[in-house]
Amino acid sequence: MIAPPPAKGDAGSAVYVAPAWKMTWWRFRRHKLALVCLWVVGFITLIALMPEFFATQDPFATSARRAYIPPQTLQLTHEGRLTWPFVYGVEGQRDPRTLRMEWVADQETRYPLQLFVRGFPYRLFGLIPTDRHLLGFADTPPGATPNLLGTDRLGRDQWSRLMYGTRISLSIGLVAVAISTVLGILLGGISGYYGGLTDNLIQRLIELLQALPPIPIWLALSAALPRTWPVTWVYFAITVILALLGWTRLAREVRGRFLSLREEDFVVAARLVGASQGRIIFSHMVPSFTSHIIAAVTLAIPLMILNETFLSFLGLGLRPPAISWGVLLQEAQNLQSVVNAPWLLIPGLFVIVTVLTLNILGDGLRDAADPYSS
């Protein structure tokens, strides 16, 4: 039996009176990589919340004459000297033999980067009308706004499309996980708390769902969606499909927690003072595993994002004109476009970064979830 550290001024007392979430945060903070990932995930979430603000152009605007422009990367030096970031303009020349457009950087025209510029009008959070954007370029001739990540087949600005795609992809992940979390906690909780026949039935259902091969099921369900449905309906349908198949793992996790907590002495003690069932569940048991659930959920989001990307990539999920990472990657589906316009693969990089950071964040949360084990 080891005594805790003696009070060392306020620092010691702060530990003594620290509630669980604070202990979890202190523990999480020690995981430096996860802390970095928390910032990255925060930033990605910010993009998903207001992609219009981060976009430089209207992502739906096509321009046949400006197809397949390679990325106009930000330059930091000009003639060997450090300057304010800018991009070079591009000039299109048609190859006389292949008749293809070849885009070359025009070292003469420079467009300096500007912050908080006016651009196309939009409604922030769908409410506030504004036309401010984070990034923009000075002195651009109309119709020739630089494309930070190049353009696609229809001359749409890939940077702006990527920002919009973040909203859809991330929110599908979040909403699908939210639905499956509710299902998982509800069914897992019932299964774990009551046990017996209910438990048996729910467990068999979970086993059945887990035995179904997911890919053909998704394909079949998505293919069953009427082609005539509007984009938003398809969006919700995909979310629900993903959620209905994704709750089983979480349900098992919750059930396991309930089973082990039910035997814990402090839960028995609460029962022996006459606490009601509701009080035992919501005041003692649920707070004991919320942090575990948060960690499990964080680890489930990247899976959902990948699933959506995968379905959309195959053309079975979201379809244009909706923009998601999977839809963007659909553009890079054939070898020709990969060879001629490799920048179309950039959305894939975005998917990798998001999935990785969410996974690391989830790992960090899982390690911090039980701050009382040393």
Binding site: M1, V15, Y16, P19, D265, V268, L272, R279
Partner: protein
Amino acid sequence: MAPETTPLPAARPIARSADATGVDESRAPLLEVRNLRKHFPIKGGFLQRTVGLVKAVDDVSFKVFDGEILSLVGESGCGKTTTARCVIRAIDPTSGEVLFRRADGDVVDVAKLRDKQLRPIWRDMQMIFQDPFGSLNPRKNLLDIIGEPMFVQGVRSRQKRMDRVAELLNLVGLRPEYMHRYPHAFSGGQRQRIVIARALTLEPRLVIADEAVSALDVSVQAQILNLLLDLQRRLELSYLFVAHDLSIVKHISHRVAVMYVGKVVELARTDALFTRPKHPYTSALLAAVPVPDPDQRAALQGLPGEVANPAAPPPGCYFHPRCPFAVEVCKHEPPPLREVEPDHFVACHRAEELTLDGIGELESALRPRPDVPGATPEAPPPAPPDVPTPPSREVPS
């Protein structure tokens, strides 16, 4: 529904009977357990059918009087913890009666009560757990933990709860300022004090202590034992004390029940049981305790064989395969628990004819001992001949 929140009396005079134990046995018992059984089914096969029964508690009866400490002692798996948990209805017994005399004198059978009816019983009966780390919710502070019994019994005023928690913390030897701290701020011994405070919140009359000091360090164990004894005297509590450590049982209890494979094999006053045991198992347990005195080194006797499997106990007396005194009748007939001397119950066919060693005999058999090292009957192994002088103990500084 609100419990009494009046200050605890400092030291009420103990109602003493003529008997030296300080227990008044002339009144009706506070708790009477009759023929308690708890069987756990063994599930097997694809359909999870019941294929057997573990008789964890198998026909156990005993009484606890007001102000008495009764210990249940035995080795792991003997059913002592299950018995205690059945008494307080942390688990539901399979059959039997748990008769509890309430403060108004009414006797209720706790074993038959439904969940809703148990709530008032739990004001009179509380539990202290073994593991001081698992029995406190780490996510609640002391005010919430110790005040919870009041809250669920209907005391909504936070101030009332704070006053009572402060009072209880004082009572168990912790500073009232600690009430906003969380359990992780406390050591094992301090946590056990918190557990005790929670058990006392509603002023129970019977406290069930399940291995309450087993997980604690030696120096802390003594503190908690002192506290338990002190509280028992001051608040006139009764304890059902579950333990496996015979020294602690001897120290704390008025009466002791020894359990073996789900049955009480001997029940008697502590002194009688320790000095004149009547059951061979009790005697074997006593002989196995390592005496903390290097001058009393005897051959430690274990027991041959293994503890009977409670799912398939042997016929007759469960102890007969290991018993050095077993005769034919022991193999066929289960011995009933019977009173062979006043207040001395034994479940052994040969209780009257056997004279068994208790601690007293053990002590006298071992003394006197020569005090000179090396003069003991068994000489130490000879030292290697070519090392004439022992090396001096050099100690670095």
